[in-house]
């Protein structure tokens, strides 16, 4: 039936050309082949689109979120600022599944105390968000660059450079609130969906993505599509009822993760940054901290620094000022308690 429809389409195209009279009549077989190819390309594109747009469960979000967290963390190059758990310190590899329910016992020391403090503050703030019950994890990274970022599933990173820069808890709460906004807004998952789409298209088309017929269907997306050595893994995953990043091959996971980080680093979140600032402002207001302190932090940030590209400080301050008006009744004006002594003990 599909072949008949394609043949009919091709005959119709040829007929139209013939009726117009002054256009050379193409070979019928060639026209049928071209139409069939076009239908097939469109069908594959639609398959990939459907694959990438499937709802993402929390387990899937956490699965890819952990990989993104490591990839973004690695860009900071300083490692995690914590006394590593004695239980895992000497392991050459981490056994999969071993810490699914029971996490390793923490170490002891000022860095551990600092991480506890960050989780106390971060989890308290997250309780005012619209994802209060996901598993939030707040991590200190050893990096002199003042920065904070997040990954899907509830990972939030703050650098020691940022902790040195903030003057009080309201300022730190503002930074964390913004990252909570990225997680609750599921902003990085848009890049994840794109990476799934491009992996699927790459598996189907590879270097043929630059051919005219394929490009006409894929549009600008064709620039991201190319040959991938694990195309078989991708095509196999399309047939599964559930796409589970935990069960993918190493090269496939690495490619998906690196693409997400590459795109986020180059393009940032665009207007989603404004969304994160608006959500962060709301969380900050309801939790009772002074929003003005967060504005001071943004005003003092160096422009263009960090793992992910951000809008200018001026643009961010405008967004916060606008959001602040909507939560005026909840603002904790003047509420800027001192940072926990654990911060000074560990990093100041």
């Amino acid at each position: 039936m599909k072949r008949l429809a394609i043949a009919a389409l091709a005959v119709s195209l040829v007929s139209c050309s013939f009726i117009r009279g002054n256009v050379p009549r193409p070979d019928l077989g060639t026209a049928i082949d071209a139409a069939a190819a076009s239908v097939e390309i469109k069908q594959k594109y639609d398959d990939c689109k459907a694959f990438s747009e499937k709802p993402i469960s929390y387990p899937e979000e956490v699965a890819i979120g952990g990989a993104i967290a490591l990839a973004l963390g690695a860009k900071s190059q300083g490692g995690v600022f914590v006394e590593v758990s004695p239980e895992i310190a000497s392991l050459s590899s981490i056994p999969k599944g071993k810490y699914d329910k029971q996490k390793p016992a923490p170490g002891t020391g000022p860095k551990t105390d600092l991480t506890k403090y960050l989780n106390l503050l971060g989890k308290g703030l997250a309780s005012f968000s619209d994802r209060p019950t996901i598993e939030w994890v707040f991590v200190v990274l050893d990096s002199p660059t003042p920065n904070a970022f997040s990954a899907p599933g509830g990972y939030v990173f703050v650098t020691t450079g940022m902790l040195k820069q903030v003057q009080n808890e309201a300022q730190l709460a503002g930074i964390i609130g913004h990252e909570i906004g990225h997680v609750t807004g599921k902003h990085a998952l848009e890049a994840y969906k794109k990476s799934k789409l491009v992996s699927c298209l790459s598996a189907y088309f590879g270097e043929k993505a630059s051919d005219g017929a394929v490009r006409s269907v894929l549009g600008p997306l064709a620039d991201d599509v190319g040959r991938i050595p694990f195309a078989g893994d991708v095509l196999a995953s399309l047939k599964l009822p559930v796409f589970d990043p935990n069960k993918l091959s190493g090269p496939f996971v690495k490619w998906l993760t690196n693409k997400i980080v590459e795109w986020l680093s180059a393009d940032g979140y665009g207007d989603m940054e404004k969304g994160a600032d608006a959500i962060g402002t709301k969380v900050l207001a309801f939790s009772g901290y002074d929003i003005a302190e967060y504005e001071k932090v943004i005003a003092g940030l160096p422009e263009g620094v960090g793992a992910i590209k951000h809008p200018s400080n001026k643009e961010r301050l405008a967004t916060i000022a606008e959001a602040k008006k909507d939560v005026a009744d909840f603002s904790g004006a003047g509420k800027a308690p001192a940072l926990s002594p654990t911060v000074a003990a560990a990093v100041k």
Binding site: S57, Y58, P59, V62, I64, G66, A67, L70, A71, G79, V82, I94, K96, D100, K101, A105, P106, T112, N119, L120, L121, K123, G124, L125, A126, S127, F128, S129, D130, R131, P132, T133, I134, E135, V137, F138, V139, V140, Y155, G185, H187, E190, K194, L197, F243, P245, K247, L248, G250, P251, V253, K254, M272, F286, S287, G288, D326, V327, D329, K335
Partner: protein, 166 residues
């Protein structure tokens, strides 16, 4: 594709901004377990009832004398509650499994899906990038520390810091 991402972002922002401004008469959400509905804006006032996380309440404004207390209406009963008990947004529905239906935040918390560790995908990624092993151990350690901090302790800490109480 950049356009696609920006388009999606714009849609998300529109959805977000539509429900953004907090105005008297609009709804807020209870976020704290056993939040008290008080007769007056005073922590020692008569307790009219107890509210549960996720309960939708009508917000009538903050108390002019003590902005940490808010006039609300819950189940037809008017009273006051502390700001620390209120959340601006309805908790998102969460998809606890790939083949399940979205469930509310409290059911999600009880489902066990909220408990996670650094995923197998993350460990696979770390295996593909050997330099990531030290980082992986650090993140896993931080997860252990995070697990030792309860949501109740975190909420109590914030209440103490900002004078919200409970």
């Amino acid at each position: 594709m950049r356009r696609t991402l920006v388009g999606l972002a714009a849609t998300a922002l529109l959805i977000g901004s539509a429900a953004y401004a907090v105005k008297p008469g609009e709804n807020l959400y209870i976020k704290t377990k056993d939040a008290k509905l008080l007769e007056k804006p005073d922590a020692k006032a008569k307790v009219l009832g107890t509210l549960r996380p996720g309960d939708e309440v009508k917000w009538n404004g903050s108390d002019p004398k003590n902005k940490m207390f808010h006039n609300i209406e819950a189940g037809g009963q008017k009273g006051y509650t502390l700001q620390q008990n209120l959340s601006p947004s309805r908790p998102q529905m969460e998809l606890a499994s790939d083949d399940g239906k979205p469930i509310d935040a409290q059911a999600f918390a009880s489902s066990g899906a909220a408990t996670k560790a650094l995923s197998d995908a993350a460990l696979t990624y770390a295996g593909e990038a050997p330099d990531a092993m030290t980082l992986t151990k650090g993140v896993l350690t931080a997860e252990g520390i995070a697990q030792s901090v309860s949501a109740a302790d975190a909420q109590a800490y914030l209440a103490k810091q900002t004078g919200g109480g409970k």
